[in-house]
């Protein structure tokens, strides 16, 4: 009976998502429809899609567990600060996107630096960064199915079940592209973050009623690592890196294109502030408050489910499972779509002598999405203990996009030589350091490898800017791009011609 409640809730949620998708199906007319939903969605849709991509189910498991184990150092401001970054980018990115028909993040970087090499390197970093997290997302679902099986399934069987369900879900992602993702994100996001917040607050009240108190926690859990510790800059680094990386995630960045205008993107940022604040901070509070319980400490990564079961039995456990399921689903959908769009548009489309047409791009995307889903499903079913380490490594690599991306959007500084060499130099630095120091480098006061990679990356970018003289044609092209002249930049047109 209990199993009927827990798995029944998951089945009901899945059925509602499929029903919504079936009811809202509209055939995509072209690749712009498929990749950025025809730039047609309002602020609340955008906000939910952003959260559903940026805060995957892993937040309820890994982030909860990290805070329960390590304390306040695990609390992050990056989601809230990312709303500011998105707000500041909205004018330029949406306007360029609409004017030059940009459909992916590498599209914008190729336009800004007038280089297909920048496009290829950016796409490679983005795809490499996304793939491990897609596998981790599928495995998170395994944790959901395991917890909700109440001991009836082995962990490997639960992972397999999660992978099969998520692979099945991708039929609609592949068929409907970005429009399907955003429509389903509204429902999934509401369940994961609004219903999730209500559940979190309920569990906090229950813990207090049960006698829990923050005063009982060890002092180290209630303070950030200070100058007297081996890693005094760990919290700084754990805040800065995710913040810089946030808009580097290609699947998050294209939220700036899917809005119906600059206004809707900015409105979504305004929604993100309060919704993100309530959700992120209340989850952190819950994890801290529960972190003295023996049952949570026994397996902190499953603490969310442990608390739900203890508080309300199978019914509350089912609700907790549905929130993680909803959050994971949105993230995996966006990842699959983003990999498909980038491989078609920025790898195959850029390498081919003859540009792919709109239909060619759509079909190629769909084939790549099918292959990606299959490969990720197979990898997720294998016992790979180092996968989370690979996921962390992928973030350190992907954050190297931030130098050319942010300088490229907010300033006219830099050139294609610096952008390409800087990203490659940053990645090489990360690769060398990551082998020895996967989390925080003691001789660098706890900075992560990505932060040191960024220093190298930035240095190369600035040196190239100073050493390589800018031609008159390039100056005129940038003037036109940044809106100082009305002429259409001729070289930009060549780089972007496969979109016309």
């Amino acid at each position: 009976m209990a199993l009927l409640v827990t798995y029944g809730a998951l089945a009901l949620f899945f059925a509602i998502v499929v029903f919504i998708l079936q009811r809202s199906y509209v055939a995509d007319r072209n690749f712009t429809d498929f990749a950025v939903a025809g730039r047609s969605f309002g602020g609340f849709y955008q906000a939910m899609a952003f959260l559903n991509t940026g805060l995957p189910g892993f937040v309820f498991l890994g982030t909860f567990g990290f805070i329960a184990r390590e304390g306040v150092v695990g609390i992050g401001f990056s989601t809230l600060l990312a709303a500011i970054v998105m707000y500041l980018m909205a004018d330029r990115v949406w306007t360029w996107g609409e004017k030059y028909n940009l459909r992916t993040q590498p599209d914008l970087m190729a336009l800004r630096f007038d280089s297909n090499a920048v496009r290829l390197v950016a796409a490679s970093l983005g795809i490499f960064g996304l793939m491990p997290w897609m596998v981790l997302g599928m495995q998170s679902l395994g944790a959901v199915f395991y917890a909700l099986s109440l001991g009836q399934l082995s962990f490997s069987m639960a992972v397999l079940l999660g992978v099969v369900v998520m692979a099945l879900r991708q039929i609609w992602t592949i068929r409907m592209g970005m429009r399907g993702i955003i429509i389903s994100d509204l429902f999934q996001g509401t369940v994961a973050y609004l219903l999730g917040s209500v559940l979190i607050v309920g569990l906090i009240v229950w813990l207090y009623a049960d006698g829990a108190t923050l005063h009982a926690l060890p002092a180290r859990k209630l303070a950030f690592p200070g100058p007297d510790t081996p890693k005094p800059l760990l919290f700084f680094s754990l805040t800065l890196l995710p913040l810089l990386a946030y808009l580097c995630w290609p699947d998050l960045f294209i939220r700036l294109y899917t809005g119906s205008g600059v206004e809707s993107v900015k409105r979504s940022s305004a929604y993100l502030g309060p919704i993100g604040l309530v959700f992120v901070m209340s989850l952190a509070y819950l994890a801290l408050l529960a972190s003295n319980r023996a049952d949570v400490l026994a397996n902190p990564d499953a603490g969310w489910f442990t608390l739900a079961m203890a508080a309300g039995g199978p019914l509350v456990l089912a609700l907790a499972g549905v929130t993680v399921f909803a959050a994971s689903m949105g993230n995996i959908d966006a990842t699959v779509q983003s990999i498909g769009a980038q491989v078609a548009n920025d790898v195959i489309g850029a390498i081919r002598r003859e540009p792919l047409g709109e239909r060619g791009l759509m079909i190629t995307s769909q084939i790549v999405m099918t292959i990606t889903t299959t490969v990720a499903a197979v990898i997720a079913s294998l016992p790979l203990p180092a996968l989370f380490t690979i996921g962390l490594f992928a973030i350190q690599v992907m954050v190297q996009l931030s130098v050319p991306l942010y300088f490229g959007i907010f300033t006219r500084a830099g050139n294609k030589q610096g952008a390409v060499a800087g990203m490659i130099g940053g990645v090489a630095t990360v690769c060398v350091l990551q082998i020895t120091w996967p989390l925080g480098i003691p001789w660098a006061y706890g900075l992560t490898t990505g932060a040191l990679g960024l220093i190298v990356n930035l240095f190369i970018f600035v040196v190239a800017h100073l050493l390589v003289p800018r031609t008159e044609a390039e100056r005129e092209r940038l003037d036109a791009l940044f809106g100082q002249e009305s002429m259409h930049p001729p070289v930009t047109s060549q780089i972007m011609e496969h979109h016309s």
């Binding site: 002092a219 305004a270 992120v280 952190a284 801290l288």
Partner: protein, 69 residues
């Protein structure tokens, strides 16, 4: 559309408050007024300060746009 100077300053203060190591290091012990750990008071205060800044930015620009229309 240009941001009002006060919003620019607010955004700058957001980043400073969230990233300044001295601010992190000084948050030890419990707040005598609320009985909450200072690290949490800092985290919630900073979070609310950041969230409010984006709302104010959006509303102020919408107001300016409305006046221009």
């Amino acid at each position: 559309m240009r941001l009002p100077p006060v919003v620019k300053l607010w955004f700058f203060a957001d980043v400073l408050l969230a990233l300044w190591p001295q601010a992190h290091w000084s948050m030890r012990g419990f707040d005598p007024a609320f009985g909450l750990p200072l690290a949490l008071v800092y985290a919630y205060g900073t979070g609310a300060f950041i969230a409010l800044s984006v709302i104010v930015a959006y509303l102020s620009q919408r107001k300016t746009r409305g006046a221009a229309d």
